[in-house]
Symmetry: C2
Subunit: 186 residues, 2 copies
DNA sequence: ACCGCTTGAATGAACGTTCAATCGTTTTGC
DNA sequence: GCAAAACGATTGAACGTTCATTCAAGCGGT
């Protein structure tokens, strides 16, 4: 993972926070500059345009997320254990970094992103699901489908945990994980 | 449902298409005017501002969607049949109106929407899930959780059907519906 | 003295919104 | 029945603001 300078990090953090608060539109470069504690021109020393800033911000957080996913999987554990670890790790990551989740959801539905399909299509996660299906732990579906469904449902779970209203009651991470597991497992 | 004039309908349709293509930002009032075949000023005869236009567009499509949901449920059928009908109807609606789905997803993550929780919280659908849980068809979870999970997964299924790449193979509506049903049903 | 980083006022384009003028239809007065 | 007035709908050029971006000048380390 590319190392960022303090300034770059401050600019990324400010942009994420502002986008969460005001959306893509409504987040201006001078707001970003002010929040990051730099002058407007400084942003352009590191990023050639607002669009480039946003797409690099996406790539950076996408790599962060992939790291979280990859670190949750280990050959030492059973498939179901790995599935549970994946769920727990990504769920926690999204709860701790809701601004990243919100940003992703805005980004994939935005014109910034041309190819909306490969947000999580990195080989490690995909082969995890391929193995699970081949070895009979999961239903015989497309591995890509299993992967996208899993990641999407973790995001839903994290959002419900974070924004869910009290009526939803004791909606636990485990509860949603088990609902999904019961559906996808053989 | 409030009846719209031809002009209002044209403005709504153009806005939806443009937002799908260019996002909230990037969709300008003059683009909307041009696509709708009216002058810029005419939009302001019907909608007091861009923000108001977008929030009224949201309410309009939200009501459309609620109508689809309500029409899919009937007291004449069993719970599981109703669940299947709901899935099929909403799935088809989202496939036929992907621009509405994209718009919803942008909207709920945008600053336009203050309360992000009650997008589908209309009483008919909620009581359908309440009944299902009370009568032992579904797992003992919060009805709201069951509702949100269902609606979210139908949206995912519709998006995969529409944007999914060929690798995903014969990903059918029935397949995803059954995965979800197996997870939520007792 | 050099050089890369930083500044923030200046710039010009683009945007949402306004409004005086125009158009087409309906109502009024006779 | 008809002209005229009234009315709401429509137009699009013009307005003022805001924004992304630029760049000449300054700063600080070497």
């Amino acid at each position: 993972m590319k190392q960022l300078t303090d300034k770059q990090k401050a600019i990324f953090d400010s942009t994420l926070m502002l986008i969460r608060e005001h959306g893509f539109h409504g987040t201006t470069m001078s707001q970003v500059a002010k929040k990051a504690g730099v002058a407007a021109g400084t942003i352009y020393h590191y990023f050639e345009s607002k669009d480039k800033l946003i797409s690099e911000l996406y790539n950076y957080n996408r790599n962060l997320t992939i790291e979280v996913i990859d670190n949750s999987l280990s050959e030492k554990h059973s498939f179901k254990e790995n599935f549970y670890h994946l769920w727990e790790a990504l769920h926690q990551f999204y709860i701790d970094n809701t601004q990243i989740l919100i940003f992703f959801e805005q980004y994939v539905n935005s014109p910034y992103k041309a190819d909306k399909n490969n947000a999580y299509s990195h080989s490690r996660l995909l082969s995890f699901f391929e193995e699970g299906i081949k070895n009979g732990y999961l239903k015989k579906v497309s591995p890509k489908l299993a992967m996208v469904l899993t990641v999407s449902n973790i995001a839903i779970a994290a959002k419900m945990h974070k924004f869910g209203n009290p009526e939803a009651g004791s909606t636990s991470m485990e509860q949603m994980r088990d609902i999904f597991w019961d559906g996808i497992a053989v």
